[in-house]
């Protein structure tokens, strides 16, 4: 499944400072859908090059990271249970505090 992943607010530093990743995520055998839970595990394994604790805590993102599926907070679509569609755009962005 083709997904566009974007990292911002400093999270791009965890994946070679590349902000936009166009990726193909294979569905696990026997499964027909890809959830955000599956995607997070995939990102953790395939994209995060350093300090994974700055991206995840337990099986979800660390506090202070907003997750957006097609420009919409994943809280509104079921968080980890959100089902992804072909060509979805998923954004991980760390909240900023500077001024």
């Amino acid at each position: 499944m083709h997904i566009t992943l974007e990292f911002g607010g400093g999270l791009e530093l965890l994946c070679d400072s590349v902000k936009i990743h166009n990726v193909d995520v294979e569905l696990k055998k026997g499964l027909e859908k890809l959830t955000m839970k599956d995607l997070l595990a995939w990102v953790r394994t395939n994209l995060i090059k350093e300090r994974p604790e700055m991206f995840m805590k337990g099986d979800t993102v660390r506090p202070g990271v907003l997750v957006l599926v097609n420009d919409c907070d994943w809280e509104l679509s079921g968080q980890l249970e959100t089902t992804l569609q072909e060509k979805d755009v998923v954004v991980f962005i760390s909240t900023l505090h500077g001024g």
Binding site: G8, G9, G10, K19, E53, M54, R62, P63, G64, V65, L66, L68, D71, C72, D73, E75, L76, V91, I93, S94, T95, L96, H97, G98, G99
Partner: protein, 287 residues
């Protein structure tokens, strides 16, 4: 004779004529703005443009809170301050600039750090609060205090080449804690002083904060509540995303909250976020 109901003198009518000409703003919008009061917390990178545009637009009473002094390494982004004010309190410098732009408004100087001990007293004097601070504990503290006092909060942030903006606690919308119930690890709380920021990025975000505060004060348009603006200056991209609404489980604004003014006063935001309210001095060893 009695003053007209719109409260605008003939000087004001001339000064704000381009606002009055606007059919979607007009005399009614300007009149509301002149009667409104807005507090800007932080006279730094975000506060600089926010204060200048709020002063110029005619906000009736404009408060500034800051405890810092102007330094040369602020000047690349804090355009409200001039070199002549280096070493002087930022509040004094910013207030002087606001008054020089618009002598018809009231500018109030709060030359102190905002803390749980004084936040309620200061913030309760204003209709709207603009968070132009630079650290996580201040952001939680200001949002919590806005919830306790029932004030809308225009929140901006900038770091590096990115900016973020939203309106909290407005008209049933979420507060900062609804979005971020658990503070991020202290190592994720980067500051401009440690990580750098392109000066014009907080300029853009601060202007957008002034816009949202003006919209709320004058009751025009759709404020950025329940939405967040994300700016990526390097690629010139702007994303406006839909964020969650008020959380019924929120510890501060949720249905079963017991968070009171008293609890606010005793809450330790530095301990909660494991991060200090004031930035440490810069250690630059680049070249």
């Amino acid at each position: 004779g009695s003053a007209p109901a719109h409260g605008l003198s003939s000087d004001m009518i001339y000064r704000y004529s381009r606002h009055l000409l606007l059919s979607s703003f007009g005399v009614q919008g300007q009149s509301k703005l002149v009667k409104s009061s807005i507090l800007v917390v932080g006279a730094g990178g975000l506060g600089a443009p926010a204060l200048m545009y709020l002063a110029a637009s005619g906000v009736g009473r404009l408060g500034i809170v800051d405890h810092d002094v102007v330094e040369l390494n602020n000047m690349h982004r804090q355009v409200i301050h001039t070199e002549a004010f280096i070493g002087q309190p930022k509040v004094k410098s910013a207030a002087a600039a606001c008054r020089s732009i618009n002598s018809s408004i009231q500018v109030v100087e709060h030359q102190e750090a905002l803390r749980t001990s004084n936040a309620i007293e200061i913030m309760s004097q204003y209709d709207i609060v603009v968070d132009a601070t630079d650290n996580a504990p201040s952001r939680y503290m200001i949002s919590d205090c806005c919830v306790v006092l029932g004030k809308p909060l225009v929140s901006g942030a900038a770091l590096g080449l990115e900016g973020q903006l939203t309106v909290y606690n407005y008209n049933g919308g979420p507060c900062y804690r609804c979005l971020f119930p658990t503070p991020p690890p202290a190592t994720a709380c980067q500051r401009c002083s440690d990580n750098g920021v392109l000066g014009v990025v907080p300029g853009i975000v601060g202007c957008l904060q002034a816009l949202e505060a003006i919209k709320i004060a004058s009751a025009i348009g759709e404020p950025l509540s329940g939405r967040m603006l994300l700016l990526d200056a390097l690629s010139a991209r702007v994303r406006i995303v839909k964020i969650r609404g008020r959380s019924i489980h929120c510890e501060v604004c949720g249905e079963n909250t017991t968070f009171t003014k008293e609890q606010f006063k005793n809450f330790d935001y530095e301990n909660f976020t494991q991060s200090p309210l004031s930035a440490a001095p810069l250690k630059l060893n680049l070249l």
